[in-house]
């Protein structure tokens, strides 16, 4: 093989002995700090070509013709492909609904939709050739919100759709609708002493992972293709890629390459099929790397949402009822919209006890950019709205906002609006208590003794002020506010999905030492799954040396690296397979040595320190003697307890595997004259069940918190009523820098969930939920403004 940069195995030597519960270091850490780690954009093959994608400049248009002749004439061009070049009858793909064209045919439905592909010997050659493709577009009316999507004469995004939601939705431009009705909201409303309502809006957030969509497709001699790719779920990609190429799945061999972050944005395909098509057509390796502009068009975003909520409460602070309607904009193609609807509706009540609810959530088809998975997945939008409502209710009742939440907080045993009982710890009141009890940061921190900021000698460090180094204030007009929020997120895939994972574990003697090799298809996207897998193998097999095999499709599916599920599900699969390996090792040991010591038959046996030991600590045999030159190699699937779909009329059902909870306290300072916000501190408390790697857990919480901060004050893909994206760049789409991000103290609880491996609870998403509403609550407290929309922009604070 001529591939010179491809993923390698990761191994850790004897200096790292840690099992679960220890902050062991990442096995890929050294490669990542030396620049040697091979990300998907770093793949290289001699003689490789570069692929480029021509995209639609229109949000909605008929394609009358595509003329590629001038592009073909460009020197250095090896292929120009359009819809007509697709090799099979399978022209579409999709996570749940196959409605997304590989290349547009007859019609484009969103700005940036792929229309044609070019392969050339230099990326610039490919770009220039693509610019020579002549596409005759006839613009069509644009559907951009609920009113235009469901109007009587609205153009249908997918006429004749026959997916399994088509029959129950009220309009063909609605992807999915999920009502949830429990108790009697109208009757309960009559008991309320106060009623508050509000309309809230969440802008379109981007995952903004730093590693661009990229990969290398290498045509193979057997007619198949090897694809080196950054994704969140290899087997889901494979299931969508192979039929379009007309290849059996075993001829599309996928290897996970270094993934530069994901956050949901790599759940859908981007350039996978395109690179394979170009490679198979040209017979040459083809690399595609999106630039940042293209990346904004190349993946789905967080659903923007409009949410209407009503809550009532009695004078003594008990919530009587909740009604809500959540409208999510799914954009041109379905992606994960149905599941996002399921989450938004089933978690719309928040972590509170409310027996009487009337809930409806829908996702629209529009000509806006497609939206799908992003960290928090439907729960983020709901949390922003219900937490604003909690502050309003508390204010209306004259109660402390934290005490009001604690009074209504759910706990173990609470029944969700879906009828599902929360059957593991739900320490909602406790995590609120913990964030509230942390010491507050000192006032007027910008008055440093040295004044070492941009205005030396003044005693003012402008870096601690709103506006920062822009030196826009020395404290004039700056007011402080403190706000709180708490949220609930499900862990794992829900609604009856067969959410299994597979792990292969091999134990053998290498160089005189027992070594475990863990092989899964889990996408390591930065979260630290590889670290945790090594820890689990050490704990279960009692060995020090663990090798993590590159993730590929030569082993069974691990499911997606999303829904905070991988440590639970693939971690559970690794644990389970290790247990099977242990049983096999003990069986070998009994056969070899059983006659020499009665404990082989009578005692509880463990693997520890490279030896078989009794539970009393007596050493029976070193693993090297038990195994000798024999390898134990087992691959096995593992499942958590099953869930069931929500009823389409009532929303009832045991839909979720597990819930996770985080609370935040935000401290902000606002320059009320310029509308600039400085988040001073963003404290978080979260229950994680069991911290398998405490350092990684805290890293997840701080990272998730910061993405929530971004949604609160800066992050939004701006889409005009023409459906066109206005800011597809890091110049115009802002994510928090280190200057925008405050100190993030974290308090971690470990209340075991008895249903989960080691009692663990998925960590990654919950902190993204409550961060945003906590910041908003603090800004409201500072300014007295209502602020029903995120992100908050300066003009919202100054009224200009």
């Amino acid at each position: 093989m001529g591939v010179t940069r491809t993923p390698t195995s990761l191994s850790q030597g004897s200096q790292t002995r840690g099992g679960i519960g220890e902050s062991t270091l990442r096995p890929d850490g050294t490669l990542k700090v030396t620049g040697e780690f091979a990300y998907s954009s770093d793949m290289w093959h001699e003689d490789m070509l570069w692929g480029f994608t021509l995209r639609s400049p229109h949000a909605h248009a008929e394609i009358r013709s595509v003329d590629t002749s001038e592009a073909w004439k460009q020197a250095g061009v090896y292929a120009v492909l359009t819809y007509d070049d697709l090799p099979t009858e399978v022209k579409n793909y999709g996570l749940e609904i196959q409605d997304t064209p590989v290349l547009a045919h007859g019609r484009v439905r969103h700005h940036g939709e792929p229309v044609a592909l070019v392969a050339a010997d230099h990326p610039e050659t490919a770009r220039r050739a693509a610019a020579k493709i002549v596409v005759d577009y006839a613009p069509l009316p644009v559907v951009h919100d609920e009113a235009s999507a469901t109007a009587e004469d609205a153009p249908l995004l997918h006429p004749g759709r026959d997916d399994h939601h088509a029959s129950h939705v009220p309009h063909p431009n609605i992807v999915h609708r999920q009502p949830i009705v429990r108790g009697d909201a109208e009757a309960a409303r009559a008991r309320a002493d106060v009623i508050v309502s509000g309309e809230y809006e969440v802008g379109m957030q981007d995952q903004a992972f730093l590693g661009p969509e990229s990969g290398l497709a290498v045509p193979a001699e057997d007619g198949g293709v090897d694809l080196y790719i950054a994704t969140q779920w290899l087997h889901s990609d494979l299931r969508q890629i192979a039929p379009v190429l007309g290849l059996p799945e075993d001829k599309v061999r996928m290897t996970l390459s270094g993934v530069g972050g994901a956050f949901g944005g790599r759940e859908d395909l981007s350039m996978q099929i395109h690179a394979c098509l170009l490679a198979l057509r040209t017979g040459k390796p083809v690399k595609i790397v999106y630039n940042r502009f293209e990346s904004f068009f190349g993946h789905v975003h967080r659903h923007p949402a409009k949410l209407w909520y009503e809550h009532g409460a009695t004078r003594d602070g008990r919530i009587t009822h909740m009604k809500c309607r959540i409208v999510l904009d799914g954009g041109a193609y379905a992606s994960a919209s149905p599941a996002v609807v399921g989450n938004a509706s089933s978690l719309s009540v928040g972590p509170y006890v409310i027996d009487d609810v009337d809930i409806e959530a829908i996702a629209l088809y529009t000509n806006n950019p497609p939206c799908g998975a992003m960290r928090g997945f439907g729960a983020v939008q709901a949390c922003f709205a219900y937490e604003a409502q909690m502050d309003k209710l508390a204010a209306e009742l004259g109660m402390d906002a934290v005490e009001f939440r604690q009074l209504n907080a759910m706990s173990q045993g609470t029944v969700m609006p879906t009828g599902q009982e929360v059957d593991s710890p739900a320490p909602v009141a406790e995590i609120l208590r913990r964030v509230k009890s942390m010491p507050l940061p000192p006032e007027r921190q910008w008055e440093s003794a040295e004044g070492t900021g941009a205005v030396a000698g003044t005693g003012i460090d402008v870096r601690a002020l709103p506006g920062g180094l822009s030196n826009t204030t020395h404290g004039e007009g700056v007011v402080r506010g403190v706000g709180y929020a708490v949220g609930i997120k499900n862990v794992g895939f829900s609604e009856g999905f067969d959410d299994y994972s597979t792990a292969r574990v091999r134990l053998e003697v290498v160089g005189g030492k027992p070594v475990a090799m863990v092989h899964t298809a889990m996408a390591e996207v930065g979260q630290g799954g590889v670290t945790v897998h090594a820890q689990i193998a050490r704990t279960e097999l009692g060995v020090t040396d663990v090798t993590i095999h590159p993730a590929d499709t030569q082993v069974g599916s691990a499911g997606s690296t999303s829904a905070s599920r991988q440590t639970y599900v693939t971690g559970g699969a690794v644990k389970n397979t290790c247990e099977l390996v242990r049983e096999k090792v003990l069986e070998i040991g009994r056969a070899k040595f059983g006659t020499y010591h009665p404990a082989w038959a009578t005692a509880e046996l463990l693997l520890e320190g490279g030896k078989v030991v009794t539970d009393g600590g007596e050493v029976l045999a070193p693993l090297t003697d038990v195994l000798e030159d024999q390898a134990v190699d087992i691959e096995s699937e593992w499942r958590h307890r099953p869930t069931e779909p929500f009823d389409l009329r009532t929303g009832q059902g045991f839909g979720h595997v597990q819930y996770s909870f985080a609370a935040h306290r935000a401290v902000v300072e606002v320059d009320t004259e310029l509308g600039l916000v400085k988040v001073v501190e963003l404290a978080c408390a979260q229950d994680v069940g069991k911290a398998l790697n405490p350092q990684s857990v805290i890293g997840q919480i701080q990272g998730g918190t910061t993405q929530g901060l971004g949604l609160a004050v800066m992050e939004e893909i701006v889409v005009g009523e023409d459906g066109k994206v206005r800011n597809p760049s890091f110049t115009d789409y802002l994510i928090p820098t280190i200057l925008d991000t405050p100190t993030i103290p974290v308090d971690v609880l470990e209340l075991a969930d008895e249903h989960a491996p080691y009692g663990l609870r998925g960590v990654g998403e919950a902190p993204t939920l409550s961060s945003t509403p906590a910041v908003l609550s603090a800004i409201r407290a500072a300014t007295g403004l209502a602020l029903n929309r995120v992100p908050v922009r300066p003009e919202h604070l100054t009224g200009t």
Binding site: R26, L210, R292, S448, Q527, T731
Partner: protein, 204 residues
């Protein structure tokens, strides 16, 4: 066009460079040094930060032709660079006159990106700031890490005892989407403290 420059102490000649190519493209695609990352290619994210005659720059914003005759240090050369700095020498010529302190042709021809001796990087010799990033948990997906390492190393070289505000200011051009920056701050504090201890230990 042809471009001659020095990368991590090694003289390099690039042929057939198209005039529009960036230093980043030449490093990644022509030299086989993909450590400098391509996250935005418009100078906003800092993932491609390298030292150009000692100054931290975004390699994506430097035209390849601009580096003619100049010295570049990338993340791949950071450990060597830090070691030679500690020894009072200079890896790239960036701390002095390149003509006098540059690497010999013989040494340059033997130069390889580290770690050359292990696929897993186990045996790599790391600079203080690289080790601190691993130890502090400042690496998650790692895509921002090379640029941050180059920027953080330059900060500590210039300001051995940076305050938190100094660290934030120096690294404000480097986006990270995974960590929330807390552990990056921890790592830079740790690296500065370790450098100080080492310097004190050598009596320097």
């Amino acid at each position: 066009m042809r471009v001659n420059f020095t990368v991590n102490g090694r003289p390099y000649e690039a042929d057939d460079v198209w005039e529009g190519e960036s230093l980043l493209y030449v490093l990644r695609e022509r030299m086989g040094l993909p450590g400098s990352k391509n996250a935005c290619e418009q100078g906003e994210c800092g993932s491609c930060t390298v030292r150009l005659d000692g100054d931290p720059v975004c390699a994506c914003l430097v035209a390849a032709g601009q580096v003619e005759g100049r010295d570049v240090v990338t993340v791949e050369g950071l450990a060597d660079y830090a070691r030679q700095r500690a020894a009072g020498g200079c890896a790239s010529g960036a701390c002095g006159d390149a003509k006098n302190t540059g690497t010999s042709v013989d040494a340059a021809q033997r130069w390889e990106a580290r770690p050359a001796d292990s696929q897993t990087g186990e045996a790599a010799e790391l600079s203080t700031v690289q080790q601190a990033f691993i130890d502090a948990g400042a690496v998650q997906c790692g895509f921002c890490t090379p640029g941050l390492l180059v920027a953080a190393d330059e900060l500590i070289e210039r300001n051995p005892e940076p305050s938190d505000a100094d660290i934030r200011e120096a690294l404000s051009g480097n986006l990270c989407r995974c960590t929330g920056y807390e552990k990056i701050l921890d790592a830079v504090r740790l690296a500065a403290a370790r450098e100080e201890t080492q310097t004190a230990g050598t009596g320097a």
